[in-house]
Symmetry: D2
Amino acid sequence: MITADIIEQSNARAEARLRADYAALGEHLDRRGIDIAAIKARVAAYGVAVPSWGVGTGGTRFARFPGPGEPRHIFDKLEDCGVIQQLTRATPSVSLHIPWDAQPAADLNAKAEEVGLTFDAMNSNTFQDQPDQAHSYKFGSLSHTDAATRQQAVEHNIACIDLGAQIGSRALTIWVGDGSNFPGQANFTRQFERYLDAAGQVYAALPDDWTLLTEHKMYEPAFYSTVVQDWGTNLLIAQQLGAKAKCLVDLGHHAPNVNIEMIVARLRQFGKLGGFHFNDSKYGDDDLDTGSIDPYRLFLVFNELVEAEADPGFAPMHMLDQSHNVTDPIESLMVSATEVQRAYAQALLVDRKALDGYQEDNDALMATTTLKAGFRTDVEPILAMARLEAGGAVDPVAVYRASGYRAQVAAIRPAVSGAGGGIV
Amino acid sequence: MITADIIEQSNARAEARLRADYAALGEHLDRRGIDIAAIKARVAAYGVAVPSWGVGTGGTRFARFPGPGEPRHIFDKLEDCGVIQQLTRATPSVSLHIPWDAQPAADLNAKAEEVGLTFDAMNSNTFQDQPDQAHSYKFGSLSHTDAATRQQAVEHNIACIDLGAQIGSRALTIWVGDGSNFPGQANFTRQFERYLDAAGQVYAALPDDWTLLTEHKMYEPAFYSTVVQDWGTNLLIAQQLGAKAKCLVDLGHHAPNVNIEMIVARLRQFGKLGGFHFNDSKYGDDDLDTGSIDPYRLFLVFNELVEAEADPGFAPMHMLDQSHNVTDPIESLMVSATEVQRAYAQALLVDRKALDGYQEDNDALMATTTLKAGFRTDVEPILAMARLEAGGAVDPVAVYRASGYRAQVAAIRPAVSGAGGGIV
Amino acid sequence: MITADIIEQSNARAEARLRADYAALGEHLDRRGIDIAAIKARVAAYGVAVPSWGVGTGGTRFARFPGPGEPRHIFDKLEDCGVIQQLTRATPSVSLHIPWDAQPAADLNAKAEEVGLTFDAMNSNTFQDQPDQAHSYKFGSLSHTDAATRQQAVEHNIACIDLGAQIGSRALTIWVGDGSNFPGQANFTRQFERYLDAAGQVYAALPDDWTLLTEHKMYEPAFYSTVVQDWGTNLLIAQQLGAKAKCLVDLGHHAPNVNIEMIVARLRQFGKLGGFHFNDSKYGDDDLDTGSIDPYRLFLVFNELVEAEADPGFAPMHMLDQSHNVTDPIESLMVSATEVQRAYAQALLVDRKALDGYQEDNDALMATTTLKAGFRTDVEPILAMARLEAGGAVDPVAVYRASGYRAQVAAIRPAVSGAGGGIV
Amino acid sequence: MITADIIEQSNARAEARLRADYAALGEHLDRRGIDIAAIKARVAAYGVAVPSWGVGTGGTRFARFPGPGEPRHIFDKLEDCGVIQQLTRATPSVSLHIPWDAQPAADLNAKAEEVGLTFDAMNSNTFQDQPDQAHSYKFGSLSHTDAATRQQAVEHNIACIDLGAQIGSRALTIWVGDGSNFPGQANFTRQFERYLDAAGQVYAALPDDWTLLTEHKMYEPAFYSTVVQDWGTNLLIAQQLGAKAKCLVDLGHHAPNVNIEMIVARLRQFGKLGGFHFNDSKYGDDDLDTGSIDPYRLFLVFNELVEAEADPGFAPMHMLDQSHNVTDPIESLMVSATEVQRAYAQALLVDRKALDGYQEDNDALMATTTLKAGFRTDVEPILAMARLEAGGAVDPVAVYRASGYRAQVAAIRPAVSGAGGGIV
């Protein structure tokens, strides 16, 4: 972890400027009838989960270029996640991926307490074969034609729930790569029937206070068809399984040009919006840093979420899910957590009463202008002030670099060679 | 209509070649264990509806270039449709569009009988303003913020049902252009609530033996959001309204790269596949001639339909829906009807028992090869023989051109000048 | 035009807040080492042309819903454009479309002087048939198989140059809809040879100080192939024709997911970037208001343009090109002109020296953060102050609405009924 | 290799049916004025290269599921490629990938002679780091900001040429993953300048009778920008480097909806079409089996190639480039080679004189029908007869399975465990 004095020294240097910017913004918002302190309070209370696998350098099927200090195991990963939370105060929990992170619950709990984190949704893995695995997932998992393979996948998911229950998790996220690469390879209908049956068995094992999140994705690793290919199929799953089953929306898992914020609105309207994987994309499931490509789209998603806050019991889970191929993963996750907060803050600034009126009057120009006024506002002082007041860093990246954390862990953790991707 | 002797003379010239090709194909299929006569019988029994508006030259927002002999009204259109059926024997019914085709039921029935046609689904129009209309659809129809506008749209749809009931139709197809062009222009949730409420009123007026078909479309004429934007929303509509409500799939109304045959499979699996608008597309809702761009995709849709034929009560409606900008519409519709039959015939040839086995064994290569063997077969002799035996033309386009029909109607119907599209 | 007192009264009410915001921003930018006055000066000097056709309500192939006071002719259009310039001080010139705007040069010049405007690029039209036209463009214009049709299109383009020369224009923009709707309809190679030959004849008639801008577009109105379908073909045209030929980039004319800013960079690098049509899009050539869908993409384009400002002779032409279907066109054009200025101002704020350093060091995170710092800054006070100081309106839309201009022209200009689009 | 008697026995069983089908097709084609023997002769003379890496099971960033008998090195790969050529007689050459296949030239030549193959284009690899590599390609290779890294990439490419020259290759294919994952990470212009400079050094080392093929790709592994992102940039490279530089078109490397056959036509028209990587795709660079998703698109590409055969010196290189994730790679490559031949045969059947006439007359319907008549013909008997007469297998997959080749090599080659993809 990073020592408090490094944070304090950096903050001390930045504080005067921040206070000036914050004061100016406060006056500006006051002229717009908005109380900056109220916005700041809501931002401060907001958190997004970090995925344990996100702190390792990602890769593509062509190559992976690790950096220094790659985490060796979940305990290293939790330390890295602890740093992110320490500096941003925006990422209070971690989402585990099993079997990568499978360790005794007591050890996980101890380490989490040590680094000041809790556990978010559990993630199962039936898209890879593990060394000791009886049945291969090459041709599918929950929807495999072979009953024993499906059973193995069901049991793995139940094991994830069991571990999760011991570490305070309350949700299981299922993403499968099941699908096909050729027309005719799979019978769409029977394949989905098998999926529903197997997922139903997992659902049956779910504790009462848990949520089952299923995640759709248009393609990859299957390249002709994917069993849970879009929100329509995802909705059917959630409807078939029951009230504890909801849909998870990953921002990068959609067809080109799709209006994602509208999917968010539909799932919310019918009580099936369960959570998010935040990231950004330009082409496919690029898993780029959240808000790095189209920040307005992220804002439009949060516009829906802020509107939905009034719904009773509305509490979708929020997680980052990115592949960090060319940056230090800790830096990317810190900046991305900030971007999520930024979109939230901007959405909070929208004058919803005025917006409603323009919508009712079909005054498209004033409606869109009103919405965009929230996005256009530079809320950075609010985010930074929230961090400062919570003991985090005004400038997390600068503090992180100054701290020498990466070099310190690189001295402990062995160097990893540049392994090839899936093609070799 | 075209005189029988023109057809007979043309057929006489083509018959020897056709019989040779048919015999050779019959022997080939026999070697594959397939009875050509059985396939021919099913093709002969298959029909696809023609849209009344399809016999006029289409256009874009930039321009429309009419041809000679443009139909003046529904009675001209029915004559053109009669020619298509006369030559192809594949298009026994016509789908009307109201108010364009609104005429006394008795007159419609008389003309239809005269030209040998029946009436398929009714189509309402709430995406254009009519001269005598009280409320404008500029900002929506069934989902408009104004209750009176929604009511007007509901009543128009009910009027379509009323007329349809008098001419033997059994379905109403609703497509609305409602949506928005700017983020914030419309509240997604409230807009869809209004849609559901209004559509529910139309549904309530539906006779017991009717089907309500709702049609989704990704975009156009609305360019930021569309109320019924995809099959997920369409499914929600059909679920909310009731058992008589089903989804209509237009092949050109999807996001880029979407696996349409899988959507067909999903809707079928959950009892909500109501019908099709056949056409083809390369970019957006291009409304190109069916099978002209990606004939294998059309085959894959029919592969699902042939598999579903075993489902009790499975009988989705089939209609062509194309915009003929650079061809004689009659020719395009004849060729397109043949392409739909072709895909059906090819799908009938698939060895489903072998395919099932390969799917069960995850033998992807043999499964896709088995499927493609149906597509690869040149079934033209089957289609032509079915036409010949039913009194149609072996070569519909050649007979049509030889008949001089277009010149004849051009002499009667006044020339139409090249009107601009929506941009001027 | 709008009386000065209406502007002054509105500005007077807004001025105190604006000055406070401007001062705060100035202080903030000063802390970042940026002189706000210098930025403001460059913004004030920036102008974007308005298309004459943009002040009329647009439409789609499905429908067009005109508003009150639709301009009847180019003189009405110039008045509307004059209002836009009067209030925004960002649109000093108008781009004409021939034959829609063909009028005696003296009359055009007189009206332009009256309303305080000059003339930007001329636009020819060979995608529609005019009543008196000898040869139809149904199957193409500059690339038509028929030599006489090509000749007609060439002569029309030369006539546009002739008129343009009399009204101070210095460029001709050619966009053709030529292409095909079916595989095989056209021979790609011969079609492009014909295009190059015909375009070469137009080029030969170009005055020495003119630029010929050719515009690519992926599809529409042709839906299988388009002759000038992308920047690759556009580049070949500019290379073949000569030094005065350059490429025009319309932001909505690209394939899904394409990196447009990179195309801008490539054309600039090879001296062939001639100009822009600004708008925004979510699906196809949606012609939505500039910056309304993806404002960051617009910023990234301007990031390239600001970098290129150092190139000797770099002066691409800038024009808005939008279809206003649900807003008052004057309002949309005012807001869009402001959005273009906004992107320019944001791009000017980027710390290019720091950015260069991070790029050289492959510090992706700091590079993108540095770039985004420009985008994130709310430059509205700079834009508004530039307008105020130039005699425009602090809030153009509010002043326009208060002025009653639309109602005034609606009293003079006859109401237009809601004509259908290209489909009927 | 597979013993001759296994092939002969299988062929003997299939021959009677094949001869019947061939005779029937011959008669049918004769009625269309086509000499089947002439088509067969051209098909028999056609060959497509196989990529050495294609005979190993592929994978994605998520996982790789190897099959039994994975080749250990280039000599195993050459044996597998030998089997493909033995059974299909359509794949006479192999394309090497360096450093994966780097071995002494004498050994490569000896093995190639043993298995009856020659060497096609060489492929360099600067998208992965090798264990002994001085400079990492994490941030690029030929376009890297660091001169030493660029130099290392240049030298590697020259080494590929050197080895290729010793084994009879005549071309080098360069594909780089260089690009960026964040807006601002790279300066587009300077990055491309560096690429051109480095590629120019490789070009300078090219023997006179060699071709340098550069390959564009829209995205992946870079997910915001790619240096050689499309055919426009690829064309600029070929123009800048010189006459020996040409463009390689991979069918899966384009933006959604792009008209690929038109790009083929443009590059051919300007003398810059150098070669192909054949495969198929539904979403991105899926590397699916050629013709498995959209066989008509493949046909349309070959329609351009057949038309271009008349061009003096027109001889683009043809190679398969696929990732076989769920099939036996040998089977997929055999079927894919056949699919390429199929498209070629179908394109040869097109009545080009009739097509030209319809194109000249703008008879879109007859033009597209004429083109499609080639595609619709089931040419399987021609392909199979060409194989039979050349000593290959009538049914390559059946013979291959009957031969037990996979089990034989699996007994020799050690099993490979299911390695994870790039994400872990």
